[in-house]
Amino acid sequence: MPYQEAPELVRAFRQGDQQAFNRLVTLYQRKIYNLALGYVKQEDEAKDLAQDIFVTVFRQIDKLKDESKFGAWLYQLALNHCRNRYQKLRRRGFFSNQSLDDPEADLHLSSGATPEKDYERQNTALLVRKAIASLAPAEKEVILLRDLQELSYEEISEILALPMGTVKSKLNRARLALKNRLKHDGLAKT
């Protein structure tokens, strides 16, 4: 697991090794960028948000008490940034200006079997992302952490400072809410 080297990198970074910080960013940038994207839904905004998160890591690394807890600390910090940015953008009407209702928004043709299949797959993905985005913040958060970031219940429990049972029940409620949204959109039906 590449994340196992994180504590060692944190130690090196604290001792002034700039490359260790770069390596930490490289290690976590995919996850943090996608977490940010889950909140702000726009690539440039997500990039800016992810960069701000890592800048805060750089500046506040001394506040991390236990290097082995870097992952949880990073996620706590990232979630705080994401929540604040989300609120700020929402107040500015950023999300009402976004074309989430446009099914062709952010669709890119890739090397799928056929353009039609590609379109259908990406359209489905877009609708699922839209459904996740429309959930209540607490529901969206737990779905992002468990189902998209693939964190364990233990990790989520630590990040959100909630008992594991509470995490599971919140996740179940969030998934049921998502199921109802997707059913409403005609996606989750058999």
């Binding site: 770069n22 960013v25 490289t26 940038q29 800016d48 489905t124 998209l148 029940s169 997707l182 059913k183």
Partner: protein, 269 residues
């Protein structure tokens, strides 16, 4: 088991973490209740849809952008703890008065023909301060009338505003080591011309990777503190762009050999 009891168990059922009794009760119920069975299938399909979402690759310029933001914030970061340490409060008139006095004192010091060496830190103190990340106020050195510029260009594409001048080993205006006031001035002045944003980012990234201190003065002017021993690296970095370097002697890797740390003022045009 009642219908209302089934849905709270779906996540545990999907994770296969139900106890034996609950598992039997739920499966028995789902086998006999088409409505709950349908709910369960939709729940499974929802999970399948969510898990099929692919993570997007982060943009390639994410890390350089972080370095750029850090470079921009570097100056404030170093000033803020100082302000916090002072921990005082002032009324607005008092603050305005202090500001005015400070500006006046600065003006008098700058224009005074007799500079006051004792007011400035000695060279070892300066290097020590630099190592601790303190920001020292830069003062532009007086440019001697006969000063020469070392000029380089990339691929012979010389801009009209950067006239090619021969390199010379003479530094006509170089301040002597014991000239304390001049110790606050940058040792070198660099003008980088025709550099695009991406190259600028890469340039800063290279400097940060070498652990050189970068202070942003404004969007086009930066101070860089680097070990004298790494001056050759600095030349290599500059050599990738069109640049003008002053004094000419700074083009030599042994320039400033008596100092541990050199300060370069870099201006982007």
């Amino acid at each position: 088991m009642q219908c209302t009891q089934t849905q709270p168990l779906f996540t545990d059922f999907a994770d296969n973490t139900l106890g034996r009794e609950e598992l039997h009760a739920l499966t028995d119920h789902l086998l006999g209740c088409p409505t709950c069975a349908q709910e369960w299938r939709e729940f499974q399909q929802t999970l399948s849809l969510v898990h099929s979402l692919e993570a997007q690759a982060p943009p390639a310029d994410l890390l350089p952008g972080i370095h750029l933001k850090l470079a921009k914030k570097g100056m404030l970061d170093r000033l803020w703890p100082l302000a916090e340490k002072l921990n005082f409060s002032l009324s607005i008139p008092a603050a305005a008065a202090i500001f005015t006095i400070a500006m006046l004192a600065g003006f008098l010091l700058k224009t005074s023909p007799m500079e006051q060496p004792g007011l400035f830190p000695s060279r070892p103190a300066r290097i020590s301060a630099l190592r601790q990340g303190e920001l020292l106020t830069p003062r532009r050195p007086p440019i001697a009338p006969k000063a020469m510029f070392a000029v380089s260009h990339n691929g012979g594409q010389q801009g009209g505003d950067l006239a090619p001048l021969p390199r010379t080993a003479l530094a006509t205006h170089l301040a002597p080591e014991n000239d304390a006031p001049h110790l606050l001035s940058p040792d070198m002045h660099v003008i980088l011309a025709g550099i695009d944003h991406a190259s600028q980012v890469a340039f800063f990234q290279e400097m940060l990777q070498r652990n050189w201190y970068i202070h942003r003065i404004n969007s086009s002017l930066f101070l860089v503190h680097l070990p004298q021993a790494e001056l050759g690296d600095f030349h290599d970095l500059l050599g990738r762009h069109r640049f003008a370097l002053m004094p000419a002697a700074a083009a030599d890797a042994s320039f400033g050999g008596g100092k541990s740390v050199l300060t370069a003022a870099i201006r982007f045009q």
